[in-house]
């Protein structure tokens, strides 16, 4: 994907305002109290390899060591388990028990399962989650599927931010028994047209094969309601280059840890020369704005 081309035709994206910090989130002395949000961390185990750190407290300790004040956690178990209700409950419990005021659980809903709508309700009402993390490629539904449209609408009604894990693992190295292509995001713009206040965050959308054509991604950028994490953004000075091409691009910090080494995302902040406002947007304010917008619900 040509990243410059990706954003060339995108309209100027809305400036994001600093929103109030989430209650209970920890602040870090290591960063002088500045908010630092990691939008993509994981609990649970990936089926084809052992992931480190192996425990939730160890993950939290690692994040805090690097100044992360808030991390949005999904559960790897929810990718393939059919009992997603249990996976979400375990995620919520682990974040509450071992999250150290840092972890925010993002539950999963699989709209191909019977009575999936109740899972949206449970995530919002019982677990008090702020967002969902979806796996369309592993759970085999397209973003043009009416069930996804309904899910996006329900999540928005429930004031949940929707994350879509476009990919988790480079398809070149997947175990053949678990081979899936990245989610095709071509249908997402149409879905956003139908749910005009929905906010979506794409995770790993820059991974190897990419999430779609430049035209598709430009169209998504023009909605001003789609953000991308940088975990899989590559190229020397990649963040800086992308922001040069599109100064208002909605990039958020995501590490994909512990599947990826946390330091790989962290060092990207040093490899690119960023203006203070760009750095703040990447480290927290874009993510905070996405969450705050979602929390306003469908009638904002």
């Amino acid at each position: 994907m040509e990243r410059r081309q990706f954003f060339r035709t995108a309209a100027a994206l809305s400036a994001t305002a600093l929103a109030p910090h989430a209650p209970g989130a920890a602040m870090s002395a290591a960063t002088g109290g500045a908010e630092f949000i990691d939008t993509q961390v994981w609990l649970g185990q990936w089926p084809t390899r052992r992931i480190f750190p192996a425990s939730t407290p160890a993950l939290v300790a690692k994040l805090q060591l690097h100044g992360v004040t808030e991390a949005w956690a999904g559960n790897f178990d929810a990718v393939l388990h059919a009992d997603i209700g249990a996976a979400n409950a375990r995620l919520a419990e682990a974040c509450a028990r071992d999250g150290g005021g840092v972890l925010l659980p993002f539950g999963t809903v699989n709209p191909t399962l019977p009575d999936w709508e109740d899972e949206v309700k449970r995530c919002a009402e019982i677990h008090r989650m702020r967002g969902l993390r979806l796996f369309p490629n592993y759970q085999r539904y397209a973003l043009t599927d009416p069930r996804f449209m309904r899910l996006l609408a329900l999540a928005t009604e429930r004031r949940l931010l929707v994350q879509i894990a476009v990919a988790i693992e480079d398809e070149r190295t997947q175990n053949p028994a678990l081979a899936v292509r990245p989610t095709d995001v071509a249908g997402l713009a149409d879905a956003l047209d139908r749910v005009p206040t929905a906010r979506v965050m794409l995770l790993n959308s820059f991974m190897h094969a990419g999430a779609g054509s430049a035209a598709t991604l430009n169209r998504l950028a023009a909605t001003r309601r789609v953000s991308h994490d940088i975990a899989a953004l590559e190229g020397v000075g990649g963040v800086e280059k992308l922001l040069e091409a599109s100064p208002e691009a909605q990039l958020v910090f995501g590490s994909h840890t512990p599947f990826f080494y946390f330091e790989s995302a962290l060092l990207k902040l040093h490899e690119s020369v960023l203006k203070p406002a760009q750095s703040a947007a990447l480290r927290s304010t874009n993510a905070r704005a996405a969450l705050t917008d979602s929390a306003r619900g469908p009638n904002r």
Partner: protein
Amino acid sequence: MNRRKFLHAGALATLAPATTRAASTAPSGPTSPPWTDARLRRLGAWDAHCHVSTPGATPAARMERLVAIADRVGVERLCVFMSPPWQNDPTPEQFRRSNDDVLAILKEWSARAFGFVYLNPNYPRESLDELNRCVADGPMIGIKLWVACRCNRPALDPIVARAAELDAVIFQHTWLKQRGTGNLPGESTPMELAELATRHPSAPLICGHAGGDRELGLRAIRPHSRVYADLGGGDPVSGEVELAVRELGAARVLYGSDAGGRSFASQLGRVLGADISDADKNLILRDNLRGLLRPALRRKGIEV
């Protein structure tokens, strides 16, 4: 190569060790935060795998841009090869042109860059001539082989033999895409590199990308003590550096980035974030590559 420039940079490197040893209290090894810009700049890493694909009017200008970014994260020396545009099966004219770009870079950047000559074994005579032009009679110190032909073919034997005479290291791209079913026709697997290593057991070979699918690639090269694993390229998947150290020993593992397509940061991060000792990180980030290149550099009167 401009020896004065080279030695100047070497002196700077001596003053700035790759990592800072632990102080008496808090850990301060390579993995310990906070990562400040100033601390990263002192890292002193040697990168085994770079392409000068950054924008610029001339090869040297492109290199200037790449070095500016490398400086931010402490990449001190860069092995450079294969100037764009990429050609899977380049004609002799095309690989000579690519090498001319690297020669132009070395004229300006010999203090920071090591050149590897790009060859195509499908043109054995022309490849040997180019090897002589750029390494025997020029400033380059290694060979880059990409995806023109599988590296287990006999066509590589005269190139490996001549490389040994010149103390030139061979960097062979390898990948296992979808367990090898997705490879390009001429794209080598790490198993094929192992075959080459069996025929040339004393030749130092670098297994580019550690085979791509590292869990398989590292096993394939494990028995061959002169085959080194380049960590460059591919996503920074947790555990793979630990795996490489466990299976090969840290002395056979090299930091490489595959810049500019890949980020220095993401690739350095996998080494800095790995659960291995500081001593092993120093080997991987610099000392192994320095030792590997030393014979070729000595032939050119350069001590590192």
